[in-house]
């Protein structure tokens, strides 16, 4: 059944329930289907998603600024992982990066500073539909230019940047939300977004022969076309029904992306925990002792040795870590326990950040943990909390 055909049936929101082809059985089926679909079309975890957006992009922004003095050695023209080496690996594994498109230093500097700009804009929530996709492009481009310097933290950031592009991360706590609110109040129509969409389309056409393989080109074009459909549905009044459908589908996509993000975080903890259980050093409680005596992970050796000298503490913290990582996915079901668990996890990550000198990895995991915070905590109820949902 094509969309045109459905559209021809008229605007269904005003359509009586007694359509000629809707029998009594159909009506019952409809009743049963309407509820789960209404649930699926309702945007879930909008505040968590906004927090995730702010955390992730803020983290990338901080990382890029911190590595600014080392940028050329890590990702640029002075890297031991020379551009031709990177290009040969990319040709083999089809990773996505725009940095192999030109060997010029100007191109690298453009991409690096563009990434800083995009991360800042996404954090503020400016035009998130576009900036979240550009953020994904920027993060993957840098990471795949030199995949040999990324640790677990970079891995988390890269994967989550992909998922974030599929969410409606600018629905609250963003410049976008404020603009939408004002436009609605003043009865204005936003035109700048449409212009930006056109510019991005031309840019995408311009670079479209630079992609390794077709998958990423297809993903980026799909983003662009969907947004175009949405504009088209707004533009023509006949599209009222398709507009509603598009909005509902976009919300469903957001919900699915949030589901995938949550499951991915559980998978991270479960993997880390269940594999630790198999290690003899974690079994005998001495795992943490080794971690605290690695030269590459001891910015404060005195502090590490002090901690490592307490047998009881090392064993308890070691077992505690493994138990929490293993239990994490299962404890999320208990609402009251959940917040306490998350608080402990965040404290532990703060400890890892300092003791093992892994601030970005730890911060990435804190941002992930925050996805599970309850809405009531994130959104203190103003005026008895009865503001209608938009």
């Amino acid at each position: 059944m094509s969309i045109d055909h459905l559209d021809h049936l008229g605007h269904p929101s005003t359509r009586p329930a007694t359509a000629p082809w809707a029998s009594a059985a159909g009506g019952r089926w409809r009743q049963a289907a309407a509820r789960p679909i209404a649930f699926a079309c309702d945007a879930h975890a909008r505040y968590q998603c906004a927090l995730f957006r702010i955390g992730l992009s803020g983290l990338v922004l901080a990382f890029l600024l911190r590595e600014w003095p080392h940028r050329r050695v890590l990702y640029g023209d002075r890297s031991p992982w020379a551009l031709d080496l990177a290009a040969r690996l990319v040709a083999e594994n089809h990773a996505f990066t725009v940095l192999t498109w030109s060997a010029g230093r100007w191109w690298f500097e453009c991409v690096y500073h563009g990434a800083i700009l995009v991360a800042a804009l996404l954090m503020l929530g400016w035009r998130t539909r576009a900036t979240s996709v550009l953020f994904l492009v920027a993060v993957l481009s840098l990471q795949n230019r030199n995949p040999l310097i990324g640790d677990g933290g970079d891995n988390v950031i890269g994967v989550m940047a992909i998922y974030l592009a599929f969410t409606q991360c600018g629905a609250v706590w963003s410049v976008d939300a404020r603009r939408a609110r004002r436009n609605r109040r003043d009865g204005r129509v936003d035109r700048a977004g449409f212009v930006m969409w056109q510019i991005l389309g031309v840019a995408l056409l311009w670079v479209s022969d630079g992609f390794q393989g077709t998958a990423w080109a297809a993903v980026l074009w799909a983003f662009w076309i969907c947004q175009g459909l949405w504009y088209a549905a707004r533009r023509w009044s006949r599209g009222a029904w398709s507009r509603e459908l598009l909005d509902a589908a976009a919300t469903m996509l957001h919900n699915c992306a949030m589901l995938v993000i949550a499951a991915q975080i559980c998978l991270i903890y479960a993997t880390a925990g269940w594999y630790k259980i198999q290690g003899t050093r974690w079994q005998d409680g001495s795992g943490l002792h080794y971690a605290l005596h690695l030269d590459y992970f001891s910015p404060w050796p005195g502090l590490g040795s002090l901690l490592a000298s307490h047998m009881l503490l090392i064993v308890l913290l070691g077992y505690g870590t493994v138990v929490m990582q293993v239990a994490f996915p299962f404890l999320l079901g208990y609402r009251r326990l959940k917040t306490a668990l998350l608080a402990v996890m965040i404290l532990e990550h703060a400890g890892i950040a300092v003791l093992l000198g892994l601030p970005f990895l730890s911060a990435a995991m804190v941002v992930c943990d925050a996805v599970f915070l309850p809405t009531a905590l994130l959104r203190p109820s103003r005026r008895s909390g009865s503001r209608p949902r938009r």
Binding site: L148, H293, L294, P359
Partner: protein
């Protein structure tokens, strides 16, 4: 933006059909994605080996699942990478320089630094990991990656040594050599391992000399 949620009963049948199909497609895609991720992190099993091509094609490289942080065993060796160069002065007999400890430079940069850079914490450390995993014990590269990762280690050593202030006195580097020492972290006093016989001497590995051409210095 119009309210699209909470008006379920008002939706027409065609709307419901379209939305149900959309929901099924999206949920199916999400489940398929998560299933491949799950299979990418499981230990080897028949399902995984039968569909390895499908799973790897989807998961790598963008969804790489490297979550076995410090597992199953925590890192328990301090690996030290050293390098030296052979220089050529006015067609005299080339001579080998002193070993330069590259890891110490990294550790010094990390010490008392609340925000260590990837350039110090990860670059050399992971480069050696990648080299080890892509070379045989006799230093023969395995596949294209072996060749690439070998060149990477060589260029890191070259960059570090040639980049030292006044280190080479204008002499030209013609070859570079790398050696690696892995020192196990001593087990805690209260552990059974401390008394067991398998404690653990340092492992050494010296790589062959690699000749250096101008091409190897590109960009450094």
């Amino acid at each position: 933006m119009a309210d699209t949620g909470g008006t379920g009963p008002g939706r027409s049948l065609p709307s419901l059909v379209v939305l149900a199909v959309t929901a099924a497609v999206l949920l199916g895609a999400a489940c398929w994605h998560l299933a491949t991720l799950f299979l990418a992190v499981t230990p080897d099993n028949p399902v995984r080996s039968r569909y390895a091509h499908l799973i790897n094609g989807h998961v790598y490289p963008e969804f790489t699942q490297g979550w076995q942080l410090f597992a199953p065993e925590p890192l328990h060796e301090n690996v030290v990478v050293e390098a030296r160069v052979r220089t050529d002065r006015n067609s005299e007999k080339p001579r080998a320089g002193h070993w330069v400890n590259l890891t110490t430079q990294d550790v010094a940069a990390i010490r008392h630094n609340p925000v260590p850079s990837h350039a110090h914490q990860n670059m050399l450390r992971l480069a050696w990991d990648f080299y080890q995993n892509s070379h045989s014990r006799r230093n023969a590269p395995i596949g294209v990656r072996g060749i690439l990762f070998g060149e990477y280690v060589k260029r890191i050593a070259l960059q570090r040594i040639e980049g030292r202030r006044g280190g080479l006195d204008g002499e030209r580097v013609v070859a570079v050599q790398v050696r690696v020492t892995a020192r196990p972290v001593a087990p805690p006093r209260w552990s059974d391992r401390a008394s067991s016989a398998s404690v653990q001497s340092a492992r050494h590995r010296t790589l062959p000399w690699w000749s250096v051409k101008d091409q190897d210095r590109r960009g450094l």
